[in-house]
C-alpha cells in the first residue's frame, strides 16, 4: 500500500502540491489527469525520491520510504518521459543491461518480453537509434514487464503508442494489477483499462 500524507512541494516560487494526500492499495491503479503544469510528473518524481518535498510523508507498506529508500526502490519501477535507452545498443542489449541492475533475466525471457511488446518483427541487430518513438516506448514497456516491482510509477505511458501499443500497455497493467501490484499513472488523456480497477483524479485539489 502506498500512502501519501500532507505533501507540500515547491518548484521555485510555485507552491505546486499543497498538502496532497492519497492512498493506493495493491491491485489498484490511480490515473492523475491533472491539467498541464499542475505537478503530475513532480508528484511521481517526489514519490520516487528524485525530488524532495518541503514537507509531508510518503509511506510504503506502512513505513516511511525515507527510512530505507534503497529497499523502497527495489519495489519500485519508474517509467519516465525519457525511456532510458541507449541509441547505439539493440533492444535486446538495452533490456539486458538495464535489467542487469536488478535481476537476472536470460535471453529467451528478454526475447519473449520483446515479442509480447509487439517487437518480434525487428531485426535483432537493429540499434534503437533507428526505432520510432512508439517502438522505443514498447521497448520500455518490455523492460517494465520484466522488472518485477510492486509499485509502478508511469509518466505518460501511452504517449507515442498506436492502438496496438496501447493494447500492449493495457494488458501489461491488467497482469500487474491482477498479481497484486499497484500503479500510479500521470497522463493527460484517460487510459481505457477494461477490467482494471482504476480511479481517476482530475485535479490536485479535487477529492479522490
Amino acid at each position: 500500500m502506498l500512502e501519501v500524507r500532507q505533501l507540500h512541494l515547491w518548484r521555485g516560487e510555485r507552491h505546486l502540491l499543497r498538502g496532497l494526500g492519497f492512498t493506493l492499495a495493491p491491485g489498484h491503479a490511480l490515473q492523475l489527469l491533472w491539467p498541464n503544469g499542475t505537478g503530475k510528473t513532480s508528484l511521481l518524481r517526489c514519490i520516487a525520491g528524485l525530488l524532495h518535498a518541503e514537507s509531508g510523508e510518503i509511506l510504503w507498506q506502512g513505513a516511511p520510504v525515507a527510512r530505507d529508500r534503497q529497499q523502497f526502490h527495489r519495489d519500485l519501477a519508474f517509467l519516465a518521459h525519457e525511456p532510458a535507452l541507449k541509441a547505439d545498443l539493440t533492444a535486446l542489449e538495452n533490456l539486458r543491461y538495464s535489467l542487469g541492475l536488478r535481476c537476472r533475466v536470460d535471453s529467451p525471457q528478454l526475447q519473449a518480453a520483446l515479442r509480447s511488446a509487439g517487437l518480434a518483427h525487428l531485426d535483432a541487430d537493429q540499434p534503437v537509434r533507428s526505432f520510432s518513438a512508439g517502438q522505443r516506448k514498447r521497448v520500455a514497456l518490455a523492460r517494465l514487464s520484466l522488472w518485477r516491482a510492486r509499485l509502478w510509477l508511469l509518466d505518460e505511458p501511452a504517449t507515442n503508442l498506436d492502438a496496438a501499443g496501447q493494447a500492449v500497455l493495457s494488458g501489461l497493467l491488467a497482469r500487474h494489477l491482477a498479481a497484486g501490484g499497484a500503479v500510479l499513472i500521470a497522463t493527460h488523456q484517460q487510459l481505457e483499462l477494461p477490467g482494471v480497477p482504476t480511479r481517476c483524479w482530475l485535479a490536485p485539489e479535487a477529492a479522490t
Binding site: G49, E82, A84, L89, G100, L101, C103, R148, A149
Partner: protein, 230 residues
C-alpha cells in the same frame, strides 16, 4: 515480484561496466578524441619552443602533465551528460543498488577508456620529448596514479555540472584547482624518473591521493548527481 531481486551491487556494477564498454566500442570517437588531443598538445611543444633537446627534456614533465590534465577535462564531458539526458542516471538512482557503486563503475569505465590509454601513450610522448628509456616505468606509474585521481575528481565535477546546459567551462574551473596536488606530485615524479633518481616519494603521495579520491569521490559524485537530477 521484488522477491526476484537477486543481483548484488557488484553484479550491477559489472553490468554498467559491460554496457559502457560496449557503447565505447560502437563509438570509438569518444575515447580516441582525448588521446589524439593529448598527443597533439605534447607534440606542439617542440614546434613552439626552440627544439633544443636539453630544453625539451627539462619541459617534458610539465608538458606531459598539463596535456594529461587538459585531455582529462575534455573526456569528462562524456562521463555523465548523455546518461543524464536519456534518463539512465535516474534509473541508476532508482535501481535499489548503491548509487555510489554504480557511478564508481561508470568512472572506472571512463578511466579504462581515457585515463589508461593516456597513461600508456604518455611514456612514449615523454621519450619523444627526450626522456631516457629508463624513465618509462616511473613515468607510466605516475601517469597511471594521476589519471585515476583525475577521473575520480572529474566524476564529482561532472556530477555538479550535470544540470547545466553548457557546463564544460565551469567543469574546468571547478576541477583545475582541485587537480593541482596531482599535477605537482605527478610532474615531480616524472622529473625524478627522467633524471634517473628515485621517484618513490612523489609516487607514494600520488598513490595516497588516488586512494583518498577512490574513498571519497564516489560518495561526493553520487550526492552531486542526485542534485543534478532534481
Amino acid at each position: 515480484m521484488s522477491e526476484a531481486f537477486e543481483v548484488g551491487p557488484m553484479a550491477a556494477a559489472r553490468s554498467v561496466l559491460a554496457r559502457d564498454l560496449l557503447l565505447a566500442l560502437r563509438r570509438p570517437g569518444e575515447w580516441l578524441q582525448p588521446l589524439a588531443f593529448f598527443v597533439i598538445v605534447v607534440m606542439l611543444f617542440p614546434l613552439a619552443l626552440d627544439p633544443e633537446p636539453a630544453l625539451l627534456r627539462a619541459l617534458a614533465p610539465a608538458a606531459l602533465w598539463v596535456a594529461l590534465l587538459l585531455a582529462s577535462m575534455l573526456a569528462l564531458d562524456f562521463l555523465f551528460r548523455e546518461d543524464g539526458r536519456d534518463g539512465t542516471l535516474e534509473q541508476f538512482a532508482l535501481s535499489g543498488q548503491p548509487f555510489a557503486v554504480l557511478l564508481l563503475a561508470k568512472t572506472a569505465t571512463h578511466w579504462l577508456l581515457t585515463g589508461l590509454p593516456l597513461a600508456i601513450v604518455g611514456p612514449m610522448a615523454a621519450v619523444a620529448l627526450g626522456a631516457p628509456v629508463i624513465a618509462v616505468p616511473g613515468v607510466l606509474v605516475s601517469l597511471l596514479l594521476g589519471s585515476v585521481t583525475l577521473s575520480l575528481l572529474g566524476a564529482i565535477g561532472a556530477g555538479l555540472t550535470l544540470g547545466l546546459r553548457r557546463g564544460g567551462a565551469l567543469l574546468s574551473l571547478l576541477l583545475l584547482p582541485l587537480s593541482v596536488p596531482a599535477l605537482i606530485f605527478g610532474a615531480r615524479a616524472t622529473q625524478l624518473a627522467m633524471q634517473g633518481d628515485s621517484a618513490a616519494a612523489p609516487l607514494l603521495l600520488l598513490g595516497a591521493l588516488a586512494v583518498l579520491a577512490l574513498t571519497l569521490a564516489p560518495l561526493a559524485a553520487a550526492a552531486a548527481v542526485r542534485i543534478g537530477l532534481e
